[in-house]
Subunit: 400 residues, 2 copies
DNA sequence: GAAACTTCTTTCATGAATGAAAAAAGTATT
DNA sequence: AATACTTTTTTCATTCATGAAAGAAGTTTC
């Protein structure tokens, strides 16, 4: 009964018949057109790998529903000229947020998937969900107030803890007092009247990076190396969540170099106690330096402080050691580094070298190891994409 | 033009209209029935996640084409009794082989996925592919001679090295002189006139274990701990191969306890040098004990030899340490142990305990950690399944 | 033993996507 | 400018899979 009902609820949706499984052609078409990746029906046909006849029907419904319009003709390439398609709801947008421990980034993404605005706000996760979501809601309000007459289609939020995506909440977070199973998604959905996608911050970051890569295929691991360490894993274009949604935990892997240092998780010897930004800070303080945040460490390394540079290099090495085991087993197409530490060359270099040394040649042969291309906006882009995906799916919010 | 033609050849097949992309429902249904994984229409519906009505039609065509028959009724579970489905080509079979370094196992699998026979043959991988495949071919011949009038539908072979599944050969194996890119699949296909599936031994083992588990879902990692160490990873019911087909390498992960021991891969500090059966053998010899094979070690441990037991326990612990990093990241539903070492309680106990200690509770909460249920036949069952899958796919060899 | 569920299977009208062919709108060639 | 080719889009009958509802065959409860 259990299994069956789950299957049923997945398979059958809203009474419509036979939507091609796991694929809403209309959403995809809309996204492609909005992103400017296709301009005519025939290009859309190629992009979606569908028959021209089907494309014709899809475009027809999109036009009659008022989502797209035909806007003139394009240049001929030796035959009939294509009729240019464009989204009509150009003014619609989604809101996205990437919450950290001490501050958050919020942004606005257009239907084409472009991040139209990105700003930082003060945000203290330790004040609890009520206050936290109040602050976030107010920030969203001001973004919306700056866009009168434009429609909000959805919201995406990334949180720095284990996220239950289906329930839209965090589960047993280690540094988010009061947030355990607090209905973040439902709260925001009620406040703004739209769908809300909730995801882990590292996963969102991974999705963001993935969506910006040119051959959008393969398996990708994205490591967030900041004050804390996180990782996200993309397979088949989707975030891999694992059996209990806890996949991507890398920060509490035991590593010998960590010795007996006590970790926030209660265990000893976790990677976090030696390779995270927070770890470097406390190691530097132990050496008598006056640092209190990861940003201080960044400054020191940029000023070529030998102690700081050495510790950062060590951090990169230890991270590389742990990741190499995963890469060996997992054989991904790319490993990307993000987070503030990834802006430091010594860190990246040590990470890379450790990865090449610790992995089988067959695995590193065609492996891309690189620093993020999106930088601080990666998480925002990821949550934006999630929000768009959710907005396009199902009970289609009729556009203006 | 290039892109277009590729897309076209993918999308449009043999004039038929709208086959659900990348999926032949009839083959899958047949496979499920033959494998004994479903016994009735309704079970088939759950397994394929299709509507009962569709299943009805699929079964109808399979029956009229003579591939399956209804054979009586099953037990009721509180309602109408299911009508049992079974393949009609009961006499057809596939051959399978699991090649090791010093010997091989070969077997016969029926259409229902049951291993009808399993025997060991002498086989020395170092004699090279020509001789090796001659020996294997002869062994297959005798299995076939014992089954006159029955049809061979396909062959599955597992090899102890990195396998290029698409090409049907091994690529840069470390202990298989002369086998590099030798066309194993093509050679056997030409000799026996059937399709041949070639897979890595650990992957085959993983698939075998997977196919015998009750809720056939989730992500599963299977570790082969024998003279060497290998691992296979199943996701969505399929072997995960990674970007270059090298996924599952666990034996060359660096582990600090290994120190500077030189590994066969040319590197130092690999897990293999301390946690494999071969490693235990050489460590015992260094202590002056008279052992030469992993089987000797097994005997010693069964006789409660303290040295051997201690080293085996260490091996389990080190393996557990490496696997815990992977499990943390990957959050699978199950981790299974196979290989001769997995028959030793001290080994399994140490592995388990290390895994529980080294993993985040959120990950181990619902994690199954167990010794294999299939034992030595796991690889054989896996290759048999692969052979069946291949046989069912494509130009359907019309059954008798 | 009749009524009330359950489970399994089929019937039927419908939606989604298709291929084939034609139409529409160009460009290039004579 | 008439003809021949290209490219883009639509029309139409057809196939695949579906949901809803009914039918078939049991079990459980009162």
């Amino acid at each position: 009964m259990n299994e069956k009902s789950i299957l049923a609820s997945n398979a059958s949706k809203e009474g419509a018949a036979a939507p091609r499984r796991g694929r809403d052609v209309h959403s995809e078409a809309l996204a492609l057109i909005a992103a400017g990746r296709v301009r005519s029906r025939s290009e859309l046909g190629e992009a979606l790998a569908m028959a021209p006849s089907s494309i014709s029907l899809v475009v027809q419904t999109l036009v009659t529903k008022g989502w797209i319009t035909e806007s003139g003709q394009g240049p001929s390439t030796g035959g009939r000229r294509p009729r240019i398609l464009a989204v009509s709801g150009e003014s619609s947008y989604v809101l996205c947020a990437d919450m950290g421990g001490r501050h958050a980034k919020i942004g606005v993404m257009g239907l084409d998937g472009s991040l139209q605005e990105s700003r930082s706000i003060d945000f203290d996760v330790t004040t609890g969900p009520d206050e936290g979501l109040r602050v976030l809601g107010a920030a969203f309000d001001s973004l919306m107030a700056e866009r009168p007459g434009r429609r909000l289609l959805g919201i995406g939020v990334a949180l720095p803890g284990p996220v239950d995506v289906a329930a839209g909440c965090v589960d047993s977070p280690s540094r988010m007092p009061g947030w355990h199973r607090y209905p973040v998604g439902a709260t925001l959905a009620a406040r703004f009247g739209t769908g809300v996608a909730v995801e882990n911050d590292a996963n969102a970051m991974a999705l963001g990076e993935y969506s910006e890569r040119s051959p959008r295929s393969g398996q990708m691991i994205v490591i967030k190396a900041g004050t804390a360490i996180g990782a996200g894993f993309i397979i088949d274009g989707k975030v891999y969540h694992g059996a209990t949604g806890a996949a991507g935990d890398i920060t509490h892997v035991r590593t010998p170099a960590a010795g007996d240092a006590l970790c926030s998780c209660g265990n000893r010897g976790c990677l976090e106690t030696i390779a995270s930004g927070a770890a470097v800070v406390s190691l530097l303080r132990a050496r008598g330096l006056d640092v209190s945040t990861t940003a201080d460490v960044i400054r020191l390394v940029e000023d070529a402080d030998p102690d700081a540079t050495g510790l950062v290099r060590d951090a990169g090495r230890h991270l590389g050691g742990v990741v190499s085991a995963i890469v060996n087993f997992f054989n991904p197409t790319a490993v990307l580094l993000n987070g503030v530490l990834s802006t430091l060359e010594p860190f990246v270099a040590a990470f890379r070298s450790q990865l090449y040394e610790g992995c089988h040649p067959l695995v590193t042969k065609e492996l891309t190891i690189a620093a993020s291309s999106l930088g601080e906006d990666a998480g925002l882009v990821g949550t934006g994409r999630l929000a768009l995906q959710q907005a396009f799916e199902n009970p289609h919010t009729q556009m203006s």
